[in-house]
Symmetry: C2
Subunit: 256 residues, 2 copies
Amino acid sequence: MISINQQKYITSLHLKKFRQKYRNFLVEGEKMVKELLTQQRVAVVTIYGTERWAAQNAALIQPFYDKFNTTTEVELKKIGTLTTPNQVVAVAMIPEQAILSSIDPNVLTLYLDGIQDPGNMGTILRIADWFGIRHVCCSDDTVDAFSPKVVQSGMGACFRVGILEGIILSDFIKIHPDTSVIGAVMDGQNLFSTTLFGSGILVIGNEGKGIRPENENLLTHKITIPSGAENGAESLNAGVATGILVAELLRNKLVY
Amino acid sequence: MISINQQKYITSLHLKKFRQKYRNFLVEGEKMVKELLTQQRVAVVTIYGTERWAAQNAALIQPFYDKFNTTTEVELKKIGTLTTPNQVVAVAMIPEQAILSSIDPNVLTLYLDGIQDPGNMGTILRIADWFGIRHVCCSDDTVDAFSPKVVQSGMGACFRVGILEGIILSDFIKIHPDTSVIGAVMDGQNLFSTTLFGSGILVIGNEGKGIRPENENLLTHKITIPSGAENGAESLNAGVATGILVAELLRNKLVY
């Protein structure tokens, strides 16, 4: 049973305003909640699950028994954002964000310059997670990494990758003045014939507009993913471009 | 003005069954229709646009004047699948598909083994388009490349990349017995330490289940995208994985 106040609180977390106010976010569905409960970094606030789910996951819930509430599919539908039937929703703490000076300039960090699509955002966080990138910095107009859609499409990457919100690229550079600032532009050097940088900050531009001019001016390395098309292909999706860039920049570290 | 029969015909094309029966598909929105009208490969059947759109695009429409019908935003909403206001919808011919023996085994071809998500499908077609891959073969349980969602997320890639539907991988291999059959699996050779293959067929598995066992048995080269994560990352999105694989396999051809 979920009280009216709990219901109000949980649905308020659908909105960025309240996620930021309370520093809480929603984790929905069996797969994501299981990931949440089996990691150490993100604190669990409350769990709302059906009796069936609780019975099937007794060992998983045991360490969180004081945070668990029994509910029904009908109630879960009211408080959640998923359109498919769901057995469990959890409220988790947004982890405290790292300070810029704590970021190691000798590894690769991502800077997202106005990424808008939640699916792309989730995909990019999965790439960071896969390739062991520790920090993803986000401009203040980048889609919220803790929105339900991004949490879902990110497949739990937000439990492992450090996210820094509201970051201005020039602030990062002031603190790390010697770092490489790498970005993909239309007329840059061929990605595959550049010397590889396994360190610095890789700037990923907005889906339609690319890197904003004031940030493009800060790039120390302008690169382009070469096209093999004879007559003008359209473009690559922002997630795919990020994947190709990151894999190539980290290539030497990934060969074994 | 769109007649009831036209309306029935166009909305029938929302469904694969009727697209296959009539070999027609829908192209929606100003950007996609502009791409359709400025390419040579896919034949245009009819165009339904608002007066405003027609006035703004007189030169573009001119070669198709006998195929153009004036309509309204309200009618377009009825016949189309877009949720945002739209000015134009076109009906186009699905191009005749290439025969397997006409595919050049000395270039890279993609084989999609049960890709389900329209967004992933569109992303993969954009990758093929970008890197100049001429043919994408699809298993019969792969999402339809000419569905409205795939056309939209593919950003016009289906106008340029040759799509072969209902292809059985072993049939391709019978016709091209010496070709490399490359696939990403969990325990393959590190992608970045393999000798590069710029030719053959790259098999992309289903989002959840990967490459089906009977096709995995046909692989001549099993590769893995190495992870840089210290404690088990989840996985890469199918589109991102395809992008990284294709970029790496074609790397030597892309350096200039």
